[in-house]
Symmetry: C2
């Protein structure tokens, strides 16, 4: 039997996309700060072990990580206008606690949910809206120094720094996914930026599945679908992770779309 | 009369190098967590206004920043083996408080003491000790993604992220100086790494003087002397700041060296 995967923030939007997409591909432990409502536990993970804990609680994290193969760390304050106090505690301190507990528990791999807001200020007045359009070849590729668009973005970029440190110091495999605009059924309408960084639910689930299966050391990749409009390169995700997205915001049809079922 | 410059962490090693080198070049306000001992207030800054405050104290910082031209932000836990709890509070939260107070006070410029430990894990087993030697052309130039060597380094790199954000969001001029190995009188003996990243006291003072006078937007530069051995480029500091170091660890003579007087 494969070792389980711990999913922090299991009740959040990204966690739900993952569980609904690849719930039966791994043996999950689901951790959230609040007990998960029944509708947040899809049938395919009905047997998962449930943990209720704050990610700043080192002892609880160590317990939850015992004998796990990998951690998918999503927990944190997801609000782009979150206060400094909140992101300092929930996102920065929480992520350090996750990495430190992983070292203690001997976890080999962590996939970390970073955000497009870690690099949001690359979208300067000079570059926009041109960079959102298909005839513009401006690309961020994950090697650039972050330019956070808000304090939430600062906290997400700090999580990447922590990932880099824990990889270099302890050899844990770490992948940071700068998640774009995740929506359940269809890409944002009449919002060029959102279409350029759209990530469908099924591509999101597939991408994190690749994060759990591929071989890598430390990576920062962009988590978007294969949109015609894009200013994030997905080359690295394709090459290193074997990411093979199926969706494209330009090809969305608003009726009978299969993504509604994901 | 020129507006004053606020120096946080005035009693620390970098602060003392700055005050002893360029104390009479600016009108200083000196802030430290503890009252400065008399021997930490050089004659040339005997008239400086003194502030005793923790850098996590927003109200105290706002008061200290009233009508200042610029802030040189050095305060923080300087220990490379400092605990996460300490660097989270003193370095990360403290630096965010400094930037936030600067916005409130209308400060236009902040020079921030980052560290070589923000990028210490570039010194891999494969690259060392070759990268410390003069026949090796490996260089970091300040554009690279950080690779912190410890949690102190994570905190220093997070300060850079905060600087990037506060520059992009509020237009404050920010320069981050990744300070090398600062020693008072002579470079470290028989320590190749320390010689490669040596920063003399007088070059340190001159570099921060340039940070207070030059025109820039957001910069990350390396703070080292013009050592023959080097793996940090000082090209950017020369070009943008007009940094013109006078010292070189290879040229040090151990007797009667003028640096002892700086």
């Amino acid at each position: 039997m494969a070792q389980p995967v711990l999913l922090t923030g299991a009740g959040g939007r990204v966690g739900q996309a993952i569980l609904r997409g690849i719930g039966d591909e791994h043996d999950w432990r689901l951790l959230d700060r609040e007990p998960l409502a029944a509708d947040r536990i899809p049938d395919r993970v009905a047997d998962a072990d449930l943990y209720v804990a704050d990610v700043t609680d080192m002892d609880a994290l160590r317990d939850a990580m015992e004998d796990v193969e990998a951690v998918v760390h999503l927990a944190g304050d997801p609000r782009t206008d979150a206060s400094w106090e909140s992101v300092l505690r929930n996102n920065i301190d929480g992520t350090q606690t996750v990495f430190e507990a992983a070292v203690d528990a001997g976890v080999d791999r962590i996939a970390y949910a970073s955000s497009n807001h870690a690099v949001g200020h690359y979208e300067t007045d000079e570059r926009t809206p041109g960079m959102y359009r298909t005839d513009d070849d401006y690309r961020l590729d994950g090697t650039e120094f972050p330019r956070p668009s808000n304090l939430y973005g600062v906290s997400k970029a700090t999580g990447e720094l922590l990932g880099r440190y824990y990889h270099d110091e302890y050899g844990i495999d770490v992948v940071c996914v700068r998640i774009g605009n995740l929506t359940r059924s269809h890409p944002p309408r009449e919002y060029e930026r959102g279409q350029a960084m759209w990530l469908s639910h099924r591509d999101c689930a597939h991408l994190f599945d690749r994060c759990l299966r591929a071989d890598y050391d430390f990576e920062i990749v962009y988590g978007i679908s294969d949109n015609d409009r894009k200013y994030y390169s997905i080359d690295r995700a394709r090459e290193v992770l074997g990411y093979n997205p199926r969706d494209n915001s330009a090809q969305y049809t608003f009726e009978g779309d299969p993504r509604d079922d994901v």
